[in-house]
Protein backbone atom coordinates (compact mmCIF):
# COMPACT_ATOMS: atom_id res chain seq x y z
CA UNK A 1 0.00 0.00 0.00
CA UNK A 2 1.53 3.25 -1.05
CA UNK A 3 1.75 6.26 1.24
CA UNK A 4 -0.96 8.19 -0.54
CA UNK A 5 -3.24 5.20 -0.39
CA UNK A 6 -2.74 4.81 3.35
CA UNK A 7 -3.63 8.46 3.75
CA UNK A 8 -6.83 7.98 1.76
CA UNK A 9 -7.83 4.95 3.79
CA UNK A 10 -7.25 6.86 7.03
CA UNK A 11 -9.22 9.83 5.71
CA UNK A 12 -12.16 7.66 4.69
CA UNK A 13 -12.12 5.82 8.02
CA UNK A 14 -12.14 9.11 9.88
CA UNK A 15 -14.96 10.49 7.73
CA UNK A 16 -17.13 7.45 8.34
CA UNK A 17 -16.40 7.42 12.07
CA UNK A 18 -17.36 11.07 12.36
CA UNK A 19 -20.49 10.54 10.29
CA UNK A 20 -21.60 7.73 12.61
CA UNK A 21 -20.89 10.02 15.55
CA UNK A 22 -22.95 12.82 14.02
CA UNK A 23 -25.90 10.49 13.57
CA UNK A 24 -25.83 8.76 16.95
CA UNK A 25 -24.40 11.43 19.31
CA UNK A 26 -26.70 12.26 22.20
CA UNK A 27 -26.24 16.01 22.31
CA UNK A 28 -26.92 18.09 19.21
CA UNK A 29 -24.19 20.52 20.16
CA UNK A 30 -21.34 18.01 20.08
CA UNK A 31 -22.73 16.52 16.87
CA UNK A 32 -22.45 19.95 15.25
CA UNK A 33 -18.94 20.61 16.52
CA UNK A 34 -17.85 17.31 15.06
CA UNK A 35 -19.70 18.06 11.84
CA UNK A 36 -17.58 21.17 11.26
CA UNK A 37 -14.42 19.09 11.47
CA UNK A 38 -16.10 16.64 9.13
CA UNK A 39 -16.64 19.43 6.58
CA UNK A 40 -12.94 20.24 6.58
CA UNK A 41 -12.04 16.59 6.07
CA UNK A 42 -14.49 16.38 3.17
CA UNK A 43 -12.68 19.36 1.65
CA UNK A 44 -9.43 17.35 1.84
CA UNK A 45 -11.19 14.45 0.16
CA UNK A 46 -12.09 16.82 -2.69
CA UNK A 47 -8.44 17.77 -3.09
CA UNK A 48 -7.64 14.06 -3.30
CA UNK A 49 -10.25 13.79 -6.05
CA UNK A 50 -8.51 16.56 -8.02
CA UNK A 51 -11.38 18.97 -7.56
CA UNK A 52 -9.77 22.00 -5.93
CA UNK A 53 -12.64 24.31 -6.89
CA UNK A 54 -15.05 22.06 -5.05
CA UNK A 55 -12.68 21.72 -2.10
CA UNK A 56 -12.60 25.51 -1.68
CA UNK A 57 -16.38 25.72 -1.89
CA UNK A 58 -16.89 22.86 0.56
CA UNK A 59 -14.46 24.32 3.09
CA UNK A 60 -15.97 27.80 2.87
CA UNK A 61 -19.67 27.04 2.55
CA UNK A 62 -20.18 23.39 3.44
CA UNK A 63 -18.12 23.50 6.60
CA UNK A 64 -17.64 27.14 7.54
CA UNK A 65 -20.90 28.92 6.92
CA UNK A 66 -23.13 25.88 7.49
CA UNK A 67 -21.27 25.11 10.69
CA UNK A 68 -21.69 28.67 11.94
CA UNK A 69 -25.39 28.58 11.18
CA UNK A 70 -25.93 25.28 12.96
CA UNK A 71 -23.81 26.25 15.97
CA UNK A 72 -25.79 29.44 16.38
CA UNK A 73 -29.02 27.51 16.21
CA UNK A 74 -27.84 24.87 18.66
CA UNK A 75 -26.77 27.57 21.11
CA UNK A 76 -30.20 29.17 20.97
CA UNK A 77 -32.00 25.85 21.25
CA UNK A 78 -29.72 24.52 23.95
CA UNK A 79 -31.41 22.39 26.56
CA UNK A 80 -34.78 22.67 24.87
CA UNK A 81 -34.46 19.94 22.33
CA UNK A 82 -35.48 16.57 23.61
CA UNK A 83 -33.12 14.22 21.88
CA UNK A 84 -35.47 11.51 20.80
CA UNK A 85 -35.70 8.83 18.20
CA UNK A 86 -38.54 6.96 16.75
CA UNK A 87 -39.57 3.45 17.73
CA UNK A 88 -37.38 0.42 17.30
CA UNK A 89 -39.43 -1.11 14.49
CA UNK A 90 -39.23 1.98 12.35
CA UNK A 91 -35.51 2.22 13.07
CA UNK A 92 -34.94 -1.33 11.90
CA UNK A 93 -36.99 -0.76 8.75
CA UNK A 94 -35.17 2.51 8.11
CA UNK A 95 -31.81 0.86 8.68
CA UNK A 96 -32.62 -1.84 6.17
CA UNK A 97 -33.87 0.67 3.65
CA UNK A 98 -30.77 2.87 4.02
CA UNK A 99 -28.45 -0.11 3.90
CA UNK A 100 -30.13 -1.18 0.69
CA UNK A 101 -29.56 2.23 -0.83
CA UNK A 102 -25.92 2.27 0.29
CA UNK A 103 -25.39 -1.20 -1.13
CA UNK A 104 -27.02 -0.20 -4.40
CA UNK A 105 -24.83 2.89 -4.66
CA UNK A 106 -21.77 0.88 -3.68
CA UNK A 107 -22.53 -1.71 -6.35
CA UNK A 108 -22.75 1.00 -8.98
CA UNK A 109 -19.41 2.45 -7.82
CA UNK A 110 -17.74 -0.98 -7.94
CA UNK A 111 -18.97 -1.75 -11.43
CA UNK A 112 -17.99 1.24 -13.54
CA UNK A 113 -19.25 1.29 -17.13
CA UNK A 114 -16.98 -0.38 -19.69
CA UNK A 115 -16.52 2.87 -21.55
CA UNK A 116 -16.28 5.88 -19.25
CA UNK A 117 -18.10 8.74 -20.93
CA UNK A 118 -16.56 12.07 -20.05
CA UNK A 119 -17.18 15.61 -21.15
CA UNK A 120 -13.66 16.71 -20.20
CA UNK A 121 -12.33 16.74 -23.81
CA UNK A 122 -15.38 18.63 -25.08
CA UNK A 123 -15.13 21.10 -22.21
CA UNK A 124 -11.44 21.72 -22.95
CA UNK A 125 -11.84 21.89 -26.73
CA UNK A 126 -14.45 24.65 -26.51
CA UNK A 127 -12.67 26.64 -23.85
CA UNK A 128 -10.19 28.73 -25.92
CA UNK A 129 -12.78 31.01 -27.59
CA UNK A 130 -14.03 32.08 -24.16
CA UNK A 131 -10.52 33.09 -23.06
CA UNK A 132 -10.94 31.23 -19.77
CA UNK A 133 -8.30 28.89 -18.43
CA UNK A 134 -10.29 27.11 -15.73
CA UNK A 135 -12.65 24.52 -17.26
CA UNK A 136 -14.87 24.55 -14.17
CA UNK A 137 -15.42 28.27 -14.68
CA UNK A 138 -16.14 27.42 -18.30
CA UNK A 139 -18.92 25.05 -17.28
CA UNK A 140 -20.33 27.49 -14.72
CA UNK A 141 -20.31 30.59 -16.91
CA UNK A 142 -20.27 29.40 -20.51
CA UNK A 143 -21.74 25.97 -21.17
CA UNK A 144 -24.14 25.79 -18.27
CA UNK A 145 -24.47 29.46 -17.38
CA UNK A 146 -28.22 28.94 -17.22
CA UNK A 147 -27.86 26.67 -14.16
CA UNK A 148 -25.62 29.21 -12.48
CA UNK A 149 -28.09 32.02 -13.13
CA UNK A 150 -31.03 30.02 -11.76
CA UNK A 151 -29.04 28.99 -8.72
CA UNK A 152 -28.43 32.67 -7.95
CA UNK A 153 -32.19 33.03 -7.94
CA UNK A 154 -32.36 30.09 -5.53
CA UNK A 155 -29.97 31.90 -3.21
CA UNK A 156 -32.07 35.04 -3.46
CA UNK A 157 -35.18 33.02 -2.63
CA UNK A 158 -33.42 31.52 0.39
CA UNK A 159 -32.87 35.07 1.62
CA UNK A 160 -36.49 35.93 0.91
CA UNK A 161 -37.54 32.76 2.73
CA UNK A 162 -35.46 33.71 5.76
CA UNK A 163 -36.82 37.24 5.75
CA UNK A 164 -40.38 36.02 5.23
CA UNK A 165 -40.25 34.48 8.70
CA UNK A 166 -39.81 37.89 10.33
CA UNK A 167 -42.55 38.72 12.84
CA UNK A 168 -44.66 41.49 11.29
CA UNK A 169 -43.70 44.12 13.87
CA UNK A 170 -40.00 43.63 13.07
CA UNK A 171 -40.29 43.86 9.29
CA UNK A 172 -37.72 46.33 8.09
CA UNK A 173 -35.65 45.77 11.22
CA UNK A 174 -32.06 44.79 11.82
CA UNK A 175 -30.90 41.16 11.81
CA UNK A 176 -28.03 39.68 13.73
CA UNK A 177 -26.88 39.92 17.32
CA UNK A 178 -26.84 43.19 19.17
CA UNK A 179 -23.63 43.95 20.99
CA UNK A 180 -24.56 46.42 23.69
CA UNK A 181 -21.51 46.42 25.94
CA UNK A 182 -19.26 47.99 23.33
CA UNK A 183 -16.90 46.09 21.10
CA UNK A 184 -15.45 42.96 22.64
CA UNK A 185 -11.68 43.48 22.91
CA UNK A 186 -10.38 40.25 21.49
CA UNK A 187 -12.95 39.84 18.73
CA UNK A 188 -12.71 43.51 17.84
CA UNK A 189 -9.00 43.06 17.36
CA UNK A 190 -9.65 40.14 15.02
CA UNK A 191 -12.38 42.07 13.22
CA UNK A 192 -9.97 44.92 12.57
CA UNK A 193 -7.07 42.76 11.55
CA UNK A 194 -8.79 40.18 9.38
CA UNK A 195 -11.13 42.02 6.96
CA UNK A 196 -8.41 43.88 5.02
CA UNK A 197 -6.63 40.57 4.45
CA UNK A 198 -9.90 38.79 3.77
CA UNK A 199 -11.00 41.31 1.20
CA UNK A 200 -7.71 40.93 -0.63
CA UNK A 201 -8.15 37.17 -0.57
CA UNK A 202 -11.73 37.47 -1.82
CA UNK A 203 -10.72 39.72 -4.69
CA UNK A 204 -7.86 37.43 -5.59
CA UNK A 205 -10.08 34.35 -5.50
CA UNK A 206 -12.64 35.93 -7.79
CA UNK A 207 -10.02 37.27 -10.17
CA UNK A 208 -8.03 34.08 -10.40
CA UNK A 209 -11.18 31.98 -10.82
CA UNK A 210 -11.16 32.54 -14.56
CA UNK A 211 -7.93 30.60 -14.95
CA UNK A 212 -7.30 28.75 -11.69
CA UNK A 213 -9.42 27.23 -8.95
CA UNK A 214 -11.54 29.89 -7.29
CA UNK A 215 -14.32 32.15 -8.44
CA UNK A 216 -17.32 34.18 -7.41
CA UNK A 217 -18.66 31.71 -4.87
CA UNK A 218 -15.50 31.18 -2.96
CA UNK A 219 -14.67 34.89 -3.06
CA UNK A 220 -18.20 35.82 -2.03
CA UNK A 221 -18.11 33.42 0.90
CA UNK A 222 -14.88 34.90 2.21
CA UNK A 223 -16.43 38.35 1.88
CA UNK A 224 -19.49 37.21 3.81
CA UNK A 225 -17.32 35.72 6.55
CA UNK A 226 -15.40 38.98 6.97
CA UNK A 227 -18.63 40.93 7.23
CA UNK A 228 -20.06 38.58 9.81
CA UNK A 229 -16.91 38.81 11.95
CA UNK A 230 -17.21 42.59 11.94
CA UNK A 231 -20.86 42.37 12.99
CA UNK A 232 -20.31 39.75 15.68
CA UNK A 233 -17.47 41.77 17.13
CA UNK A 234 -19.85 44.68 17.48
CA UNK A 235 -17.79 47.03 15.32
CA UNK A 236 -20.74 47.63 13.05
CA UNK A 237 -24.44 46.88 13.10
CA UNK A 238 -26.08 44.84 10.38
CA UNK A 239 -28.14 47.00 8.02
CA UNK A 240 -31.90 46.97 8.31
CA UNK A 241 -33.46 44.80 5.65
CA UNK A 242 -35.58 47.52 4.06
CA UNK A 243 -32.62 49.62 2.97
CA UNK A 244 -32.51 50.25 -0.75
CA UNK A 245 -28.74 49.77 -0.81
CA UNK A 246 -29.02 46.32 0.76
CA UNK A 247 -31.67 45.25 -1.72
CA UNK A 248 -29.61 46.65 -4.55
CA UNK A 249 -26.42 44.86 -3.52
CA UNK A 250 -28.26 41.58 -3.21
CA UNK A 251 -29.69 41.85 -6.69
CA UNK A 252 -26.93 43.55 -8.64
CA UNK A 253 -24.99 40.39 -9.47
CA UNK A 254 -27.88 38.32 -10.80
CA UNK A 255 -29.25 41.40 -12.58
CA UNK A 256 -26.01 42.06 -14.46
CA UNK A 257 -25.77 38.36 -15.27
CA UNK A 258 -29.30 38.39 -16.64
CA UNK A 259 -28.67 41.62 -18.52
CA UNK A 260 -25.56 40.29 -20.23
CA UNK A 261 -27.45 37.08 -20.99
CA UNK A 262 -30.22 39.09 -22.60
CA UNK A 263 -27.74 41.15 -24.59
CA UNK A 264 -26.73 37.86 -26.18
CA UNK A 265 -30.04 37.88 -28.06
CA UNK A 266 -28.96 40.99 -29.90
CA UNK A 267 -25.18 40.70 -30.01
CA UNK A 268 -24.44 36.97 -30.12
CA UNK A 269 -26.10 33.62 -30.71
CA UNK A 270 -28.88 34.11 -28.22
CA UNK A 271 -29.61 34.01 -24.52
CA UNK A 272 -26.48 33.64 -22.37
CA UNK A 273 -24.06 33.50 -25.26
CA UNK A 274 -21.25 36.01 -25.38
CA UNK A 275 -20.14 38.03 -28.41
CA UNK A 276 -16.95 36.63 -29.93
CA UNK A 277 -13.86 38.10 -28.30
CA UNK A 278 -15.74 39.69 -25.43
CA UNK A 279 -16.46 36.55 -23.47
CA UNK A 280 -13.73 36.85 -20.87
CA UNK A 281 -14.20 40.52 -19.93
CA UNK A 282 -17.97 40.03 -19.74
CA UNK A 283 -17.59 36.94 -17.54
CA UNK A 284 -15.25 38.83 -15.24
CA UNK A 285 -17.75 41.66 -14.94
CA UNK A 286 -20.42 39.11 -14.07
CA UNK A 287 -18.16 37.38 -11.57
CA UNK A 288 -17.20 40.58 -9.80
CA UNK A 289 -20.82 41.66 -9.46
CA UNK A 290 -21.78 38.18 -8.34
CA UNK A 291 -19.04 38.09 -5.72
CA UNK A 292 -20.47 41.23 -4.17
CA UNK A 293 -24.05 39.94 -4.28
CA UNK A 294 -23.12 36.49 -3.03
CA UNK A 295 -21.14 37.99 -0.16
CA UNK A 296 -24.00 40.22 0.95
CA UNK A 297 -26.65 37.54 0.42
CA UNK A 298 -24.77 34.79 2.25
CA UNK A 299 -24.03 37.18 5.09
CA UNK A 300 -27.68 38.20 5.41
CA UNK A 301 -28.88 34.60 5.17
CA UNK A 302 -26.49 33.63 7.97
CA UNK A 303 -27.61 36.58 10.13
CA UNK A 304 -31.21 35.37 9.95
CA UNK A 305 -34.46 37.21 10.60
CA UNK A 306 -34.50 40.76 11.96
CA UNK A 307 -34.31 40.84 15.73
CA UNK A 308 -35.08 44.48 16.52
CA UNK A 309 -36.07 47.76 14.92
CA UNK A 310 -33.45 50.32 14.05
CA UNK A 311 -32.89 52.87 16.79
CA UNK A 312 -34.41 56.18 15.82
Amino acid sequence: MSMANAFDVALVALLLAIAVWVVVARAAFSAIVVFIAYGLLVAIAWVRLFAVDVALTEAAIGSGLTGMLLLGAAARLRGTTASGRCGLTLRIVAAMFCAMISLGLGAVILTPPDVVVTLAPAAMANLPPSGLGNPVAGVLFVYRAFDTLLEKVVLLLALLGVWSLTPDRLWGGVPGPQVDAGPDGMLAFLAQLLPPLGIVVAVYMTWTGADHPGGAFQGGTVLAAMWIVVIIAGLQNAPSIDQRLVRFLVVVGPAIFLGIGLAGFALADGFLSYPAGYAKPLIIVVEVALTLSIGVTLGLVALGTPQRMRRQ
Partner: protein, 113 residues
Protein backbone atom coordinates in the same frame (compact mmCIF):
# COMPACT_ATOMS: atom_id res chain seq x y z
CA UNK B 1 -8.87 -0.60 -5.08
CA UNK B 2 -7.92 2.84 -6.36
CA UNK B 3 -8.48 6.06 -4.46
CA UNK B 4 -11.54 7.10 -6.47
CA UNK B 5 -13.34 3.84 -5.75
CA UNK B 6 -12.48 4.18 -2.08
CA UNK B 7 -14.02 7.62 -1.87
CA UNK B 8 -16.98 6.37 -3.86
CA UNK B 9 -17.67 3.64 -1.32
CA UNK B 10 -17.25 6.26 1.40
CA UNK B 11 -19.82 8.46 -0.37
CA UNK B 12 -22.28 5.58 -0.63
CA UNK B 13 -21.91 4.83 3.08
CA UNK B 14 -22.26 8.50 4.00
CA UNK B 15 -25.43 8.77 1.94
CA UNK B 16 -26.93 5.77 3.73
CA UNK B 17 -25.93 7.10 7.15
CA UNK B 18 -27.34 10.53 6.41
CA UNK B 19 -30.57 9.07 5.13
CA UNK B 20 -30.87 6.96 8.28
CA UNK B 21 -30.37 10.02 10.47
CA UNK B 22 -32.85 12.03 8.42
CA UNK B 23 -35.53 9.39 8.82
CA UNK B 24 -35.01 8.23 12.41
CA UNK B 25 -33.91 11.32 14.31
CA UNK B 26 -36.92 13.11 15.71
CA UNK B 27 -35.07 16.29 16.57
CA UNK B 28 -35.32 18.70 13.60
CA UNK B 29 -31.83 20.12 14.11
CA UNK B 30 -30.41 16.62 13.89
CA UNK B 31 -32.46 15.97 10.78
CA UNK B 32 -30.91 19.05 9.20
CA UNK B 33 -27.46 17.81 10.16
CA UNK B 34 -28.21 14.39 8.70
CA UNK B 35 -29.45 16.03 5.50
CA UNK B 36 -26.02 17.65 5.18
CA UNK B 37 -24.31 14.27 5.60
CA UNK B 38 -26.55 12.86 2.90
CA UNK B 39 -25.66 15.82 0.71
CA UNK B 40 -21.90 15.41 1.09
CA UNK B 41 -22.23 11.69 0.39
CA UNK B 42 -24.09 12.42 -2.83
CA UNK B 43 -21.57 15.05 -3.87
CA UNK B 44 -18.65 12.72 -3.13
CA UNK B 45 -20.12 10.07 -5.42
CA UNK B 46 -20.43 12.74 -8.10
CA UNK B 47 -16.83 13.70 -7.43
CA UNK B 48 -15.78 10.12 -8.03
CA UNK B 49 -17.67 10.11 -11.31
CA UNK B 50 -15.78 13.28 -12.20
CA UNK B 51 -12.45 11.75 -11.23
CA UNK B 52 -13.07 8.72 -13.41
CA UNK B 53 -13.74 11.05 -16.31
CA UNK B 54 -10.22 12.47 -16.10
CA UNK B 55 -9.11 13.21 -19.66
CA UNK B 56 -7.70 15.92 -21.88
CA UNK B 57 -5.02 16.72 -19.31
CA UNK B 58 -7.53 17.41 -16.56
CA UNK B 59 -7.64 15.68 -13.19
CA UNK B 60 -11.36 15.17 -13.54
CA UNK B 61 -14.41 15.87 -15.67
CA UNK B 62 -15.17 19.56 -15.01
CA UNK B 63 -18.91 19.24 -15.65
CA UNK B 64 -19.77 17.22 -12.52
CA UNK B 65 -17.34 19.34 -10.53
CA UNK B 66 -19.20 22.50 -11.50
CA UNK B 67 -22.53 20.84 -10.77
CA UNK B 68 -21.31 19.93 -7.28
CA UNK B 69 -20.40 23.56 -6.62
CA UNK B 70 -23.92 24.56 -7.59
CA UNK B 71 -25.25 21.74 -5.40
CA UNK B 72 -23.27 22.86 -2.34
CA UNK B 73 -24.70 26.35 -2.58
CA UNK B 74 -28.22 25.00 -2.94
CA UNK B 75 -27.70 22.71 0.07
CA UNK B 76 -26.49 25.67 2.12
CA UNK B 77 -29.56 27.67 1.16
CA UNK B 78 -31.77 24.78 2.23
CA UNK B 79 -29.96 24.41 5.53
CA UNK B 80 -30.28 28.12 6.24
CA UNK B 81 -33.98 28.12 5.54
CA UNK B 82 -34.59 25.05 7.67
CA UNK B 83 -32.57 26.44 10.57
CA UNK B 84 -34.40 29.76 10.56
CA UNK B 85 -37.77 28.00 10.34
CA UNK B 86 -36.80 25.89 13.32
CA UNK B 87 -35.67 28.91 15.36
CA UNK B 88 -38.88 30.75 14.60
CA UNK B 89 -40.94 27.69 15.49
CA UNK B 90 -39.13 27.60 18.80
CA UNK B 91 -39.79 31.31 19.39
CA UNK B 92 -43.49 30.95 18.64
CA UNK B 93 -44.24 27.69 20.39
CA UNK B 94 -41.45 27.22 22.91
CA UNK B 95 -40.80 23.81 21.39
CA UNK B 96 -38.43 22.69 18.72
CA UNK B 97 -39.98 19.38 17.77
CA UNK B 98 -42.13 18.05 14.99
CA UNK B 99 -44.10 15.76 17.25
CA UNK B 100 -46.51 13.96 14.96
CA UNK B 101 -48.79 13.04 17.86
CA UNK B 102 -50.10 16.52 18.21
CA UNK B 103 -53.14 17.23 16.12
CA UNK B 104 -51.44 20.03 14.29
CA UNK B 105 -53.70 19.56 11.32
CA UNK B 106 -56.63 20.78 13.33
CA UNK B 107 -54.97 23.95 14.51
CA UNK B 108 -53.49 24.96 11.18
CA UNK B 109 -56.47 26.84 9.92
CA UNK B 110 -57.12 28.41 13.31
CA UNK B 111 -56.54 32.00 12.42
CA UNK B 112 -58.37 32.33 9.16
CA UNK B 113 -60.05 35.43 10.45
Amino acid sequence: MNAATLFGICGAALAGLGLFGLITNSEPLRKILAFNLLGTGTFLIFGVVARRGAAAGLGGDPVPQALVITGIVVAFSATAMAVVLLLRLFEESGKATLDPNEADGASTAEDDS
